[in-house]
Symmetry: C2
Subunit: 338 residues, 2 copies
Amino acid sequence: MPHNKQILLDNRPTGEAVASNFKLVSSETPALQDGQVLVRHHYLSLDPYMRGRMNDSKSYAAPQPLGQVMQGGTAGEVVESKNAKFSLGDKVVGFGGWQEYSVVDAGQVGMLRKVDTAHIPLSAYLGAVGMPGVTAWYGLMKICEPKPGETVVVSAASGAVGSVVGQLAKARGCRAVGIAGGKDKCDYVVQELGFDACVDYKAHKDPKSLYAALKDATPNGVDGYFENVGGVIMDTVLARMNAFGRIALCGMIAGYDGQPLPLTTPQLILTNRLKVQGFIVSEHMEHWPAALTELGTLVATGKLKFRESVAQGIEAAPEAFLGLLKGRNFGKQLVKLI
Amino acid sequence: MPHNKQILLDNRPTGEAVASNFKLVSSETPALQDGQVLVRHHYLSLDPYMRGRMNDSKSYAAPQPLGQVMQGGTAGEVVESKNAKFSLGDKVVGFGGWQEYSVVDAGQVGMLRKVDTAHIPLSAYLGAVGMPGVTAWYGLMKICEPKPGETVVVSAASGAVGSVVGQLAKARGCRAVGIAGGKDKCDYVVQELGFDACVDYKAHKDPKSLYAALKDATPNGVDGYFENVGGVIMDTVLARMNAFGRIALCGMIAGYDGQPLPLTTPQLILTNRLKVQGFIVSEHMEHWPAALTELGTLVATGKLKFRESVAQGIEAAPEAFLGLLKGRNFGKQLVKLI
């Protein structure tokens, strides 16, 4: 029975999340019962939605319980099995949480999925070929509904979700414009990911300056907007939306610490006859197979690029997560556990 | 050639619209050319959208030109005709503007429509069986998409649009809840129109009190919201929306004078996976025949009730319009011109 280091939620943030909200503990993994498997996690996924669950407020997901292992997606390897469908050495993706090992009732549908690592790296199943990729695919395809020649804007453009949104939009014949923080991220978005333009919001602290930069980048206005951050950035893009534009509301990370996050000019939704729609990808499981097939093929053939920020060791997870909330990561934030 | 009194837009409002923005003039109606008809207006329709057109700002419609007759829907009678399809005495509905007579190129599609006044009063074609009724029908049916047992809320509930929204929602098996200003309007909405409940926003100046009253009226939350006003009322209803709720954004009269109209908690659109969609009924002409058929049948059979505020004489139009913007009307605001 291996030794298992775990990170618990010890107490809830008041305002900004801090390292002392978390607590490192360790224990022995329990003996397996019939049907269970023991997974050694190679990678833990860190995602912005986790911040929402740290609050004890009504949201789409139940709050993360106090004193329990932080929830999160994981990719790893079966190291012990009492389930006929899983063998030692199988590479698997699941929801094992912030810990080195998890015991999984592998018979339950959706708990654990075997993945092919011959053509796709294991870590990608937590990013471009996983929940973030499907999030990008669903919001773009089913809400933004891009048509060739249209302009699609995405915020947090260098991130796990945003990077996929822009590349999929390009593949559909759209002008893809990112918004990201800093020259390095913007250069990456344009030069590596192939977006047509990227606006560095950190270089435009003043809303008028940000609007002018976005206007330069979107000479024909904006038809589809994939929103990951909210706040001033959302206000600014709203002012560039064309009639009948579509906004997929995926994240509003700017408000996760409880700060006010008003939308300044909601009347633009009316005057431009926009559709603004919030979504959570886990409620649209029927689209996952089609999305994962496309995303997996694109990654395996090198047509969909992504970048990862990898922290080492479970002890590093809290700081890596707090950095993610501040945009210190560059691409998909992972924690490597082996 | 009859004498024709007209109201022009003389100058644009700075902030609130005032009577001196308008100017009364009169002239002789010109001689008809081939294909034209002369319509004597019996009723002029006053509608909130007109306030938006008084501004010289980008909106969905071109601004009302200065020095020209105020635009608006009219219902009347053909009093002279050089068009074979129209005869003296025909009752017609068109877009004749704030004047007593209009000369219409009746050959152009959509300029003038003959209506049956045997079963439906002429004035109703400017209200429940006209643009306001179709607005209610479209926003409710195509955006709110009500299902039996759901709760539908509508603001400006006693008005030309809101009164139809609630009655159509009731007919589809929904709980219909209105928001209106004053006890008289709320009593009317419940007792005459058959809504299940109505919240008097004037009795709840404090947002918390308004929320508490709305909560009492919507014990199962809100699934569909038809928004006519914006501002604090929209914020309050947003906080009562159920997961997967739909909001039809039809009007935001609270912001027509240019005052800030922020949406305080747009993150609720995300956490509750809402759809918020703006629309303008004139862009959905393909739905008008179905809507008018249903609305006409309901009015003719007494199943759809409505109320009118009628000002007398073209001179009374500006004050009646300014009163409409302040909610002083009760039901559809008309000006009777004969």
